[in-house]
Amino acid sequence: MTALVGPTLEEAFEEDRRRAPAPRRGSARRGWLLPIWGWVVILWLSSPIIVMIVFGLNDGRGRVVSTKWNGLTLKWYAQLFDNADLTTALENSITIALLTTIIAVVLGTLMGVALGKFRFRGSGSVTLLLFANIAAPEVVLGAALLSLFLSANIPRGYGTILIAHVMFSLAYVVVTVRARMAGLDPAMEEAARDLGAGPFVTFFRVTLPIIMPGVLAGGLLAFALSIDDYIITSFNNGSTLTFPLYVYGASQRNGGGVPPQVNVMGTIIFAFGVLVALGGAVASRRKT
């Protein structure tokens, strides 16, 4: 999961620009062991993705991915939405992720700004709350929420999934925004106030644009966490299916094996994610 991608990538790109490369010292022949290790690890991490892309192109007769190679075909791309249940699950995943991102970004940015800007009584306990939320195991978060819904007799479904997703992604947005707030020069806001701007105007015209990279990174994080979540969702979904739930269910039931469209969808989501990240990198290089 891309839990720490946002802030770290952003920092990495900025550091690259700011810092000049360190002068080389020592012998001219650099160690070759480290790079080999690094590349082997990168290759190992990518291997299942390659398998997934390849099997998205594997021909097959049935409703499940064939374990043998049957020849190259693009037909699954054409028949992408043939499986109604899978399509509904994907739709659910995407809409829930979008809604989660919006709600978590709004609530989280407010919290992050407050924690980053002000020093107030209770900020310590709020931070502790956030930390407990991030550190708590997913099983416990999901099970606890389910206990609440059972006790209060709330039926589980789309709404409860949404509630759960906002609950666990909020803290990540707050942390990201707060980190960004640390670099905010208070002089900017003071200048705005001196020019007669009220607090709302100051926020929307001065603060928000400066912390926007942090807000966007937090939003990206919330989206990624939500769309890939399995454990917490599986406790609170009732009969509504999301993409990870569908794929997992399909693999364990009906004799095993997932519909070929799953690999195609995975490939498309992968390509989309790559484009977004590249776009973000290019955009942040252009800015400032």
Binding site: T67, D85, S125, N153, R156, Q252, G255, G256, G257
Partner: protein, 424 residues
């Protein structure tokens, strides 16, 4: 040296140790939490007993008749079933038998393949039924077992209209008429039945498998698959020991659990349903299996075989039933009896490859084989007509047993014995 404290116990230390560490804020927090806790401790989780629907409590014959006399045909109903359990036309979503039903009765059908396992599906519908809501289906298909028993106990099924079951009583086989798990067919009519036996690949093993005892062979260590539900596991072990699962006693269960514990080190995994894939891939050499699944995989991998163990196998039945708060019960009732006509049952049996509840289908298959024009069709129908997996012989029936019927209150001992087998 009276009156003097030992050096470790300086007055400062004592003061520090005895001073209250609780600050005002944390006291408030703690107080708040405990108040919350006390408030929540007053909560409880409501039970599901007897939260019946239209017909709460023990429905009497009069009430049932009255209920059914008030029902009107609505022209539509919703059918939830397992995958690959309906005949298929040119496209996977095309079902000739359903189209024929609509043509002949004018009732349209929404067909969904939402059910993939009993406990998962039951877990899905239980909260809605418990809250008095409709689950949006008029016919659901549940295997005889703990979940079906749960539905009976909680009055979550509508008793059937016996006056509309003429085809059923005329054509149904002895297996599904008045079964042990639903005496008098009060709530259910069988959809299809199946056998739990052993699927295996003789090429990888080197010899044939004949019974459960072969699954204790150390040479197959790490290549054996078993199911991960207690009913199938317990029934298999009891068959292996020569005990009839239906009449088993708690001491029989202990013996069965011991058999399974002995087998445990050899078992690769306790599968949900993905054993067929593992068998086809070669990860498994022999596994507990459902007859229809192996039939299906044989198309891809002709090496696979299915056998009813000689000590005895398990026979189960998937049943159509009507959940409470169904919106179109009468239309559902009409359909349920409709499929017992031999011609319709034949259409279904040709695709489903499990045990049809209508024995009259067998001579129909034989006739099709005789009348068939192409060799392929002749072969298909001949195979179907003679397959012991679709029309078990009386000798086979003698070797097949049903699951133990167990009310939920008596399951504690059962679960305690069998769950550790597949849940460790």
């Amino acid at each position: 040296m009276t009156g003097e404290l030992p050096p470790e116990l300086s007055p400062d230390l004592i003061r520090g140790l005895t001073q209250p560490r609780v600050s005002r804020r944390s006291a408030l927090k703690f107080g708040g939490l405990s108040a919350l806790g006390l408030a929540l401790s007053a909560c409880s989780i409501a039970g599901t007993k007897g939260k019946g629907g239209n017909l709460g409590g023990r429905a009497w014959r009069d009430e049932i008749d009255k209920f059914w006399s008030e029902q009107k045909k609505k022209g539509h109903f919703d059918f939830e079933n397992w995958p690959l359990y309906m005949d298929q036309g040119a496209k996977a979503s095309d079902h000739p038998s359903l189209n024929l039903f609509t043509k002949q009765t004018g009732i349209t059908v929404t067909y969904r393949e939402d059910i993939s396992d009993n406990s998962g599906y039951y877990g899905k519908i239980a909260p809605q039924l418990s809250a008095g809501q409709s689950i949006g289906a008029d016919i659901i298909v549940i295997t005889n077992g703990f979940e079906l028993e749960n539905l009976f106990e909680r009055d979550w099924l509508i008793p059937l209209d016996q006056s509309r079951m003429t085809n059923f009583y005329k054509y149904s086989s002895e297996l599904v008429r008045d079964p042990s798990y639903d005496r008098g067919n009060v709530y259910t009519m069988a959809w299809q039945s199946g056998i739990t036996g052993i699927g295996y690949n003789p090429k990888l093993i080197g010899h044939e498998i004949t019974g459960w005892k072969d699954l204790l062979d150390p040479k197959l260590s790490g290549k054996i698959g078993m199911f991960n539900n207690s009913e199938d596991l317990a029934a298999a072990a009891m068959c292996a020991l020569g005990i009839d699962p239906e009449r088993s006693t708690p001491s029989d269960w202990t013996k069965a659990a011991d058999w399974l514990k002995k087998q445990r080190p050899l078992v690769r995994k306790y599968y949900d349903q993905s054993y067929a894939d593992a068998l086809a891939k070669g990860d498994l050499w022999a596994t507990m299996a459902w007859s229809g699944d192996i039939f299906l995989k044989q198309a891809d991998n002709p090496d696979l075989k299915f056998v009813i163990p000689e000590e005895g196998g398990v026979i189960w039945t998937d049943n159509m039933c009507i959940p409470v708060h169904a919106q179109h019960p009468l239309d559902a009732m009409i359909y349920m009896d409709y499929v017992y006509q031999p011609k319709i049952a034949e259409m279904l049996a040709a695709y489903i490859n499990y045990i049809t509840p209508v024995p009259a289908v067998q001579p129909l298959f034989a006739k099709e084989a005789k009348d068939a024009t192409s060799k392929a069709d002749k072969d298909t129908y001949a195979t179907l007509a003679s397959s012991p997996l679709i029309f078990p012989k009386p000798a086979d029936f003698a070797r097949l047993h049903r699951y133990r019927v167990l009310p939920s209150k008596e399951r504690k001992a059962w679960n305690a014995l069998f769950e550790p087998i597949y849940q460790s």
